[in-house]
């Protein structure tokens, strides 16, 4: 005997569809927010790199001043 298909009745089908539309909108919003966070993180990384370079420059200058003060005969 062939297997007969069995169906399940879905109550409040239209509400489920409406909720699915809302979920899809929220998902799109979350994707947009994640893209923004990614951009901000890239910008942050760039600023941190600049800060690191500036600190290295400051360190060089401090070293120069320090050497100048400690060993003035070399200059």
């Amino acid at each position: 005997m062939e297997k007969m298909p069995v169906f399940v009745k879905i109550e409040e089908y239209n509400d489920v569809l409406s909720l699915m539309r809302t979920i899809r909108k929220k998902l799109d919003e979350a994707k947009g927010t994640l893209l923004k966070i990614h951009d901000l993180k890239n910008e942050e990384d760039h600023q941190l790199e600049m800060w690191q370079n500036t600190l290295a420059e400051v360190e060089k200058k401090i070293d120069f001043v320090d050497h100048s003060l400690n060993e003035p005969q070399n200059y």
Partner: protein, 181 residues
């Protein structure tokens, strides 16, 4: 008195001769032994082995069949006209209710406001929703980790800002001391 005690006359009709009787028929049946009816005895009782002559077709029918003659051919009356017979509406078959097992059954059925989903599809949807639930729990855990990481990042950033401020103050002091005079 001679007629009373005279010689005995033998009867003209012969009496049936006694035949030997099997003793087993006189015995009581043994309650412990099961009565086994063999198929051979059943066949004999039913008469299975007898030829079924009475059920066979009588041979007299054949000549009767031969005697029947074919009717003479009908005269030709031109091309046969096709007559369309209209089936009344009440006797027409509703094809929606005819089973068509070869056609695929749809996964969803909409009947007015009621919606039905095939059980296999329903189970599939439930499985997918369970997986989505797991993913959301995972995202929540990642979010908490990021918050903690951001907190530590902010803490380190504040420390670095304090250190740079202190460095700046010290440099200003050195500057003052060096260029005092």
């Amino acid at each position: 008195m001679g007629w009373l005690f005279g010689k005995r006359k033998e009867p003209r009709i012969p009496l049936p001769k006694a035949h030997e009787v099997d003793d087993s028929s006189l015995r009581f049946p043994n309650s412990y032994s099961k009565k086994i009816i063999e198929p051979k005895k059943i066949k004999e009782a039913v008469g299975f082995e007898k030829p079924l002559a009475s059920l066979e077709m009588p041979m007299e029918l054949e000549p009767v069949m031969e005697k029947t003659r074919m009717p003479p051919p009908l005269p030709r009356v031109g091309p046969v006209r096709q007559v369309k017979t209209e089936i009344p509406q009440s006797t027409k078959i509703n094809r929606d209710f005819i089973e068509t097992p070869s056609l695929p059954v749809p996964a969803q059925i909409h009947q007015g406001d009621e919606h039905f989903v095939k059980v296999e599809m329903y189970h599939h949807l439930l499985g997918k929703l369970e997986m989505v639930h797991h993913n959301i729990v995972e995202l929540d855990q990642i979010s908490k980790k990021l918050e903690r990481s951001e907190y530590h990042e902010d803490e380190h950033f504040e420390k670095m800002k304090t250190a740079v401020k202190s460095l700046h103050d010290k440099l200003l002091r050195v500057d003052k001391l060096l260029f005092k005079g």
